[in-house]
């Protein structure tokens, strides 16, 4: 039935796969199996990508087979299939799923199974998208490198000795390594966009409330947002359209839909649009190669008819500081529920008395990693009597100032633009002992979370000095996610025309450690 082999299948975008599935040129089982084979080939082993914490083989293939059976039978059921039915997806392991473990990258939840599905997972199931598995992340999404995962770091497919970004490094690396065409991420201060930037993939943080957070294990509830990860702008639009919309289970969920994002991605026109460079989010502190690619994107948008203007957001200088007060404060409260009583790990203290308080202390000491402990202590400090006004209270005021900066900027521009991250991917271990240096990775992504506005990161090319991917970030006013897709799709097509194809075509081929190992093993057995 098919002329496309599995190596070609895994390189197709979700939109291309959807078209081939609809035309019955390939089956959903073939597509799903091709990705499972790729995961088996590149994810495991000492030098594997380690994007997946759990692979959901049986269920993914069963969903794919169901889609194929519906298509083969034809009729109304086939016509009613969702556009993305049969297109597989990976899910960040912060998002709860029935039938698969959810760890949040933490020992405290190792082996735990959720008794319910997150709303976004329900929506994937309704669309009959096979879930390939759960992806690695910094513990409870706290980090910018995936090195804070209790289950080992994910490696960047561009250079296996480098970080894939974080916290959603697993989702970004899975998509960059062609292990999945799509993935779900969560973004509290940049955890979708920064991994997108350093792996040469697309990641979108929707408007706060645009996608239900029900079933995403909360870090900082006023900042967290689930969003799409993909290789193309159109694919992210398709996925956000699936997962978005009002959810009565999330009281912060926006009541009205965000418009036709897919149509926006297909519009392909920025003529007459005003695009604002944020003065404070480039230049000093940004790697030269990042700055070069950023300027190149500005030139391309100008040639395409956009007007480039400069805007100033003076209060962004306080955004990182305010974020590192608000986020830990909310996290310290949200993570109080991991106490060894209702789910997950329970550790008994080594010496009596065996009281519940001491069990909690021992459980949380053994179950949480260093970064989680740091943030809980910092948050407890910022919220404690005598410090609350100076820390948490002041940070909330800064949040208002940041919103005012955005309001003023969007008076002058339809969309704002900046580099997504100040540098390309750094080496594994390089910043692990310096929490503050790690936090600086998110300097350009945090303002969007503070104000609730949507942000998209797309590949902007490779830095001259190290040949690693650079991300370009677009920001739009709240509820105007469609603008990101409109401008993002245009910039993507201009850049790809310049490169002669997708940026990921330039990524090195990954070795196949597991498959090679199995062959060697069989050869030895045969002897």
């Amino acid at each position: 039935m098919t002329e496309t082999n599995s190596t070609e299948l895994i390189r197709l975008s979700a939109a291309q796969l959807a078209a081939k599935l609809a035309a019955r040129e390939v089956t959903a089982v073939e597509v799903t199996q091709a990705h499972l084979d790729r995961i088996a080939a590149v994810d495991g082993g000492e030098r594997g990508v380690n994007a997946f914490l759990h692979v959901n083989t049986e269920e993914a293939l069963a969903v794919a087979a169901e889609v194929d059976a519906i298509r083969a039978a034809g009729g109304q059921a086939a016509e009613e299939l969702h556009e993305l039915a049969g297109v597989p997806i990976a899910v960040k392991d912060l998002i709860v799923t029935i039938g698969q473990p959810t760890t949040a990258g933490s020992k405290i939840l190792e082996g735990w199974h959720s008794p319910y599905d997150a709303t976004v997972v329900k929506k994937l199931r309704a669309a009959k998208m096979p879930i390939l598995g759960k992806t690695n992340l910094d513990e409870f999404a706290m980090g910018s490198s995936t090195e804070h995962s209790a289950f080992g770091p994910t490696r960047n497919p561009w250079d296996l000795d480098r970080i894939p970004g974080g916290s959603g490094g697993g989702s970004a690396a899975a998509v960059a390594a062609f292990e999945a065409p799509l993935a779900l991420g969560t973004d509290t201060g940049g955890s979708i966009r920064q991994p997108g930037a350093v792996t040469g993939t697309v990641g979108v943080k929707p408007t706060y409330g645009g996608v239900s957070r029900y079933g995403a294990i909360a870090m900082a509830s006023s900042l967290d947002q689930i969003g799409p990860v993909s290789r193309t702008v159109l694919d992210s639009a398709l996925l956000q359209q699936v997962i978005g919309g009002h959810d009565p289970h999330d009281s912060t969920s926006l009541p009205d839909p965000l418009g036709d994002l897919v149509a926006a991605a297909r519009l392909g026109n920025v003529d007459g649009m005003k695009i604002g460079i944020i003065k404070e989010l480039h230049g000093e502190g940004y790697q030269a190669g990042v700055e070069n690619r950023f300027n190149e994107s500005l030139e391309l948008l100008k040639e395409a008819g956009a007007e480039i203007v400069e805007v100033s957001c003076p209060n962004f200088q306080y955004a990182l500081g305010a974020y590192y007060l608000i986020m830990p404060s909310e996290a310290s409260s949200n993570l109080a529920k991991f106490d060894g009583v209702r789910y997950g790990l329970r550790v008994l203290p080594e010496e009596p008395p065996l009281t519940i308080e001491r069990v909690m202390g021992a459980t949380r000491a053994a179950g949480f990693g260093d970064e989680v402990k740091r943030r809980i202590i910092l948050g407890t400090y910022a919220l404690s009597a005598g410090y609350y006004d100076a820390y948490y209270g002041s940070a909330q005021k800064v949040r208002t100032l940041i919103q005012h900066d955005f309001d003023a900027a969007f008076e002058k521009a339809d969309v704002l633009i900046s580099p997504t991250a100040p540098t390309t991917a750094f080496k594994l271990g390089e910043k692990l002992d310096d929490p503050l240096a790690m936090y600086l990775n998110d300097v350009a992504t945090i303002p969007a979370n503070m104000a609730g506005v949507p942000g998209l990161s797309l590949p902007g090319g490779l830095a001259d000095e190290d040949g690693l991917p650079v991300g370009i970030q677009l920001l739009a006013p709240a509820r105007e996610d469609a603008r990101l897709y409109r401008v993002g799709a245009v910039l993507e097509s201009l850049l790809e025309a310049k490169w002669g194809g997708p940026l990921l075509d330039k990524a090195p081929e990954l070795a196949s450690p597991v498959v090679e190992h199995v062959e060697t093993f069989e050869t030895q057995e045969a002897k």
């Binding site: 735990w112 199974h113 008794p115 408007t207 706060y208 900042l223 009565p248 009281s251 912060t252 926006l254 306080y318 990182l320 500081g321 305010a322 590192y324 007060l325 310290s332 109080a336 106490d339 009583v341 209702r342 789910y343 997950g344 790990l345 008994l348 008395p353 065996l354 009281t355 202390g361 021992a362 949380r364 000491a365 949480f368 402990k373 740091r374 809980i376 202590i377 910092l378 407890t380 400090y381 410090y387 100076a390 820390y391 209270g393 002041s394 940070a395 909330q396 005021k397 800064v398 949040r399 208002t400 100032l401 919103q403 929490p435 979370n449 503070m450 104000a451 609730g452 506005v453 709240a478």
Partner: protein
């Protein structure tokens, strides 16, 4: 604003129910002092007249109908519990013996 010291961290760890070794307290106090120092400018950034923002996109009065929705069975609710007994979570003594 006062810097954070080792005694503060020990007190906060007790409040947060995280046991910490002496070595961990030393290390954590050093790291947190650097972070607190880096974020303290926030307290001078905004004047008294600036209102606080607790949620980025305010929605007020989010109500739902007062009807029973989805609930977990006791079995589902206890499915991930480290210990349970007769449809209840089981925990060690809540009060100290002495």
């Amino acid at each position: 604003m006062a810097a954070i010291n080792r005694d503060d961290v020990a007190h906060l760890a007790r409040l947060a129910h995280i046991e910490m070794s002496a070595e961990e307290l030393d290390r954590m106090a050093g790291e947190l002092a650097v972070i607190v120092d880096a974020v303290k400018s926030v307290s001078e950034a905004a004047g008294d007249g600036v209102p606080a923002t607790s949620h980025p996109i305010p929605l007020s009065n989010v109500f739902r109908e007062d009807v029973v929705g989805h609930t977990f069975t006791a079995e589902q609710a206890l499915s991930g519990a480290p210990d349970s007994d007769a449809d209840r979570f089981k925990v060690p003594a809540i009060l100290d013996e002495d």
